[in-house]
């Protein structure tokens, strides 16, 4: 079971949608609530970017790299959520964002490192 592939398409779709929906509540640096999640324009752009990267990774076969990148990025964002908000006066990362970012990072790490598809990372000639 290629979990990194499932991860890339599932989170690619969700974060793309969340990024687009975010623009309906905030198009400036001012913090607004997307349901219960604090967002602003920068936050929405990051959501949109990681979502589109997920879709791109799914179609180009770079899902393991995508999952690993997401694990690192969202791990950092989770820790940053505990700092004074909005972070550096720019991006809101606290509140309800913290558990969502943490779960995203944990699952990305598992999909990227723990359960790679058989043959991933080996030369094509050996893979048969």
């Amino acid at each position: 079971m290629n979990l990194s592939r499932i991860y890339a398409i599932a989170f690619g779709v969700v974060y793309t949608l969340v990024g687009l929906l975010g623009f309906t509540v905030s198009t400036t640096l001012a913090t607004a609530n997307l349901i219960v999640f604090p967002v602003n324009v920068l936050h929405n752009l990051v959501h949109l970017l990681v979502g589109l990267l997920g879709l791109g990774a799914y179609f180009t076969g770079q899902t393991v790299n995508y999952a690993r990148g997401m694990a690192i990025l969202f791990g950092i964002l989770t820790i940053a959520g505990f700092l004074p908000q909005p972070l550096l006066g720019l991006v809101p990362l606290g509140g309800a964002d913290i558990p969502l970012h943490a779960a995203t990072a944990l699952l990305a790490g598992a999909a990227g490192w723990l359960y790679r598809p058989a043959g991933a990372g080996r030369p094509a000639a050996i893979r048969q």
Binding site: M1, V25, I35, A96
Partner: protein, 195 residues
């Protein structure tokens, strides 16, 4: 000391939270991929650890077709929304809240069964359940108990799409209405029509 009055706070919260009383269902929906990924990771871990049940379920999942997986995901969306609606409806209508909860559990059960069982018995249950959902929603709207809203309409659209997927999948086995689709696909495989 500041005392919060529930009646004065609620309208403010409603105005700040897009989706109103459906906000909970939208938040739950955001967590659905996380729950699904968590379940798949647990299944993979169990299979790699040599747990027989996990190995059997894992191979059944891998053998499932794309249309079945999409139908299962659609049913999961509907189940999540119904389960999340149950608590918010409890205060105004106990019966409807219980129905939401039961419906959500039934849909989740059928969604999991569709992926893991090798029989097609789940298809009849899925069509019956989803048709009842769509019919009940419109009956409640006509009766004035519910109003049309974005979450409700979107959920019913997802359910209608899932009904279509389930029916197309079943005709694939029987070989009637789905035959034109198979023609198209076989042409593609031979480098024909869709090339």
């Amino acid at each position: 000391m500041i005392q919060l009055n529930a009646h004065s706070v609620a309208p403010v919260l409603d105005s700040q939270v897009p989706g109103g009383d459906h906000a909970g269902s939208i938040v739950a929906l955001l967590y659905l991929p996380i729950v699904v990924m968590g379940l798949l990771l647990a299944l993979e871990a169990g299979a790699r650890a040599g747990v027989p049940a996990a190995m059997r379920l894992r191979s059944a999942f891998i053998d499932s077709s794309s249309s079945v997986r999409m139908a299962a995901f659609g049913m999961s969306i509907s189940a999540t929304i119904h389960l999340a609606l149950a608590p918010s409806h409890w205060t105004e209508d106990h019966v409807r809240a219980v129905l939401f909860a039961l419906d959500g559990i039934a849909l989740a059960t059928v969604a999991i069964s569709s992926l893991l069982l090798r029989t097609s018995a789940w298809r009849a249950a899925a069509v019956a359940l989803l048709s009842a959902d769509v019919f009940a929603y419109f009956a409640y709207v006509v009766a004035g108990v519910e109003q049309f809203d974005t979450v409700g309409i979107a959920t019913k659209l997802v359910e209608l799409v899932v009904i279509g997927l389930v029916l197309v999948g079943s005709t694939h086995h029987v070989g009637s209405c789905g035959s034109w689709l198979r023609e198209l696909v076989s042409h593609k495989a031979n480098g024909g029509l869709l090339r």
